[in-house]
């Protein structure tokens, strides 16, 4: 059974519209795709800009975790940059470009997305890139995020620009659905409809979905399980109090957002010896956590994660070479030890703090599963050398503290929009 949240522009507000198959609904979606393809890209950019402004103004939407990020991401100036990174110029999306051998980026067709539940706004990043290049989209969104998707897409639906184009027009090319992950029939139906599949999720989900039958031309974009951490060199750790505290404040916000369940969430802070001691850094970080915890109380406490926090705290309190800084309640936790390793993520505001002799000592720990490293490194040459070695070992992003969750292109090494088009050619003389 497939639950319909939105299909071809029609919201199912009560969540009680269920269908055996979405195939009978496809003609309406195809009509919506025709509408989408008739819209000028500049109008879509203007619509995204307006939506960005509307999201921030909307009282209900503005409180959703991660909305500020997506609003910023949808701004025309930012989205234009994404387009330029992917296509050099937007012209390729609208016309054959070049002399004699002319190139155009045509939409692939229908893109089916399996969205993970850890970041409520994840589906929108996936959707808007695919929509912009002219694809129809069907998203399988976890039930727990349906209300958020409805709220965010309702704002989009109401967004309108001076040309008369509205979000409602573009949503005619979109479906948001849900079915149980074990529903083989629904999974196969969605997979077989796809000209491209976008899969966000953990190892198990990725393996299951990529193993589904698909059309031979179908393109797969897999955003699988990833791990992130942060590093601070001796100079950064030895900065003046104000600069140092500011960096730690950014780190604390990177930890707290998305309850540390995102692939971009840091789990370990490695600090190079020579600046402040780990204990001193831990105390500054603790203070920032205290402030943030007051502003953003934990919601949706997961008992399993709480027991993992309880165990990790006790382990570090019992181990003579480790220590722990934490409040009584299982809110934030700083686990200090000297084990040179990446730790299994505990999540929910729990970070390991480790001292290293040199940032280069961290390089051998890096695997292809490490996605983002937050870097607080003062010396540019040192930063470049570290980033070069880290990315050679598989890291996709080296960013500053406070920017770990900024969704960007490339992502996981991919220029996403360019993967969602077919590059086609037209030859003719001058």
């Amino acid at each position: 059974m497939i639950e319909i949240v939105l299909f071809a522009g029609e919201f199912s507000e009560c969540g009680c519209t269920n269908v055996e198959s979405i195939k009978p609904l496809m003609p309406a979606l195809e009509q919506g795709i025709d509408v989408l393809r008739g819209v000028k890209k500049s109008d879509i950019l203007d619509l995204f800009q307006q939506y960005s402004e509307d999201l921030i103004k909307d009282e209900a939407a503005a409180t959703i975790e991660g909305v500020a990020f997506i609003a910023n991401w949808l701004r025309k100036s930012n989205f234009n940059q994404l387009v330029e990174k992917n296509f050099h110029t937007i012209e390729y999306l609208e016309a054959f470009v070049g002399d004699k051998k002319r190139l155009k980026a045509q939409p692939r067709g229908i893109v089916c997305h399996w969205i993970a539940g850890n970041v409520p706004t994840l589906g929108l990043f996936s959707l808007f890139q695919s929509m912009f290049v002219g694809n129809g989209n069907i998203l399988r969104v976890p039930q727990k995020n349906h209300d958020i998707m409805r709220a965010l897409l309702n704002v989009f639906s109401r967004t309108i620009i001076s040309s008369g184009l509205s979000g409602a027009d573009l949503l005619k090319s979109v479906g948001v659905i849900y079915f149980d992950k074990a529903d083989a029939r629904a999974n196969e139906e969605l997979s077989e409809l796809a000209d491209a599949r976008i899969v966000w999720g953990g190892e198990e989900a990725v393996k299951a979905i990529t193993g589904l039958p698909r059309r031979s031309h179908c393109e797969d974009l897999v955003f699988g399980p990833k791990y992130s951490f942060v590093v601070m060199d001796a100079d950064a750790a030895g900065r003046s109090s104000g600069d140092f505290t500011r960096a730690i404040r950014f780190l604390a916000s990177d930890v707290i957002l998305f309850d540390q369940a995102a692939c971009t969430s840091p789990h370990v802070l490695f600090v190079e010896k020579g600046g402040r001691s780990v204990q001193e850094i831990g105390e500054v970080l603790a203070e920032e956590f205290r402030k943030l915890a007051k502003r953003f109380p934990k919601v949706g406490v997961d008992q399993y994660i709480m027991t993992r926090i309880i165990n990790a705290r006790a382990e570090h309190a019992l181990d003579p070479s480790s220590s722990v800084i934490c409040p009584k309640e299982n809110d934030w936790t700083i686990l200090i030890d000297d084990k040179l390793q990446l730790e299994e993520p505990i999540e929910s505001r729990t970070i390991f703090l480790k001292e290293v002799d040199s940032l280069q000592d961290i390089i051998p720990l890096i695997t292809r599963k490490v996605q983002t490293i937050g870097c607080s490194v003062d010396e540019k040459e040192k930063l470049i050398a570290f980033a070069d070695a880290a990315t050679l070992h598989g890291v996709a992003r080296c960013v500053e503290f406070g920017q770990m969750h900024l969704y960007d292109n490339p992502w996981d090494g991919m220029l996403v929009m360019s993967r969602l088009v077919s590059w086609v050619t037209l030859y003719y003389g001058d």
Binding site: A262, Q303, N311, A314, A317, L318, S323, P345
Partner: protein, 367 residues
């Protein structure tokens, strides 16, 4: 202390009990801190100085998983007579609990004083639904299954093991059980075993073999393995009905108990009203998993067990990964005093959480 453990249990009102336990437990924590630098570091990091404990809930509980990671002892090695091990079914690593003579003696006394309030004090023929191998007398280590059998076997006059182990699998010895029936027909007997083994091995094989027993006065005491049985949709009611049918006893004579190798000597048996009770020398706290504050009746949370028995390991306050709920205090219809509670479930991992759901990975794993 000895008198507190040995006397008839479930007689002290909760407030009075807590007042009595607090100084004893606080002193035991201080002793543990004096003996072990690791424990001193733990208790001082996670809570106030023991002299400042205002209630037993101020004692920082040690998570049960720490007994898998550390050798937690509060007495010299030369005093340790036995190391108990948990079954290691969930993580693959067993808990290791160091026992000295003093603790072992108290555990036996404590178990007797609890059990006699449920099954009577007289010794009687006992059928163990397990293999004799789990309770080898000469073993330095003892599994949780073995330890439970050994504890309850204090009530056994003659002990017969119903199962044989062949290549690591358990098989019913129907002839031996039939002989036990013949020898003790009409007598009050005691049956004990691991819940999961009783259901998946004994009941299925006894049913297949057409084994029909008649022990109207039998008490069947069982524990452990509910996680797997729940996954098979076997409820306590289904279990009791199925087992009572084999032995021809009333379902209420099938008694589930909650306990763990880390707190041997303290078992929580279902009373006639279906509640589990804390004895006078031990207590239960249900903690909110987030705030870690003590929850009142009707609020579920993590089960913590406090007890004054151990002198060889820090078992004064151990927090489990089980979820339970205090049902009431001092007013159970069965007449027992103190807190009474229900075990709900083990804490389970929620569904996988998406693209951040990964583990740190050693470099050589990815080549």
């Amino acid at each position: 202390m000895s008198e507190l453990i040995s006397r008839d249990q479930f007689a002290v009102l909760q407030a009075k009990k807590e007042l009595a336990l607090l100084p004893v437990l606080a002193q035991q924590v201080q002793d543990a801190m004096a003996f072990s630098p690791a424990l001193a570091k733990f208790y001082s990091t996670m809570g106030p100085d023991p002299s400042a404990y205002a209630s037993i809930s101020d004692i920082p509980p040690i998570p049960v998983a720490m007994f898998k990671k550390f050798d937690l002892k509060t007495c010299p090695d030369e005093e340790i007579t036995r190391v108990l091990q948990s079954s290691a079914t969930t993580t693959g690593t067993p808990s290791r609990i160091a026992i000295n003579k003093d603790t072992s003696f108290r555990q036996a006394k404590a178990l007797t004083s609890i059990l006699k309030g449920f099954i009577g004090g007289n010794r009687r023929p006992m059928l163990v639904i397990d293999t004799e191998n789990v309770n080898k007398a000469d073993a330095d280590t003892l599994s949780a299954r073995g330890a439970a059998i050994r504890g309850i076997s204090q009530f056994g006059k003659t002990i017969v093991y119903a199962m044989d182990e062949v290549d690591g699998e358990l098989f019913l010895n129907a002839d031996r059980v039939a002989q036990f029936q013949q020898d003790h027909a009409g007598e009050e007997i005691l049956v004990s075993g691991f819940t999961f083994i009783i259901w998946t091995r004994f009941v299925t094989q006894a049913t297949d073999a057409g084994l029909s027993l008649s022990f109207a006065g039998a008490k069947i005491v069982h524990s452990g393995g509910w996680k797997k049985l729940t996954a098979q949709a076997v409820t306590k009611e289904i279990f009791s009905k199925g087992v009572s049918a084999i032995f021809d006893v009333a379902p209420e004579n099938v008694i589930d108990f909650y306990g763990m190798v880390e707190q041997l000597g303290v078992v929580f048996l279902d009373c006639e009203a279906g509640h589990k009770h804390a004895p006078d020398f031990a207590d239960i706290i249900i903690r909110d998993p987030y705030t870690m504050e003590e929850n009142g009746p009707g609020q579920s949370g993590l089960i913590e067990i406090l007890n004054v028995i151990p002198t060889s390991y820090p078992g004064q306050a151990i927090i489990t990964e089980d979820i339970g709920e205090i049902v009431g205090i001092d007013d159970c219809p069965c007449g027992r005093k103190g807190k009474y509670f229900e075990f709900r479930t083990r804490v389970e991992r929620a569904e996988t959480r998406g693209c951040g759901d990964t583990f740190a990975e050693r470099r050589q794993d990815t080549s």
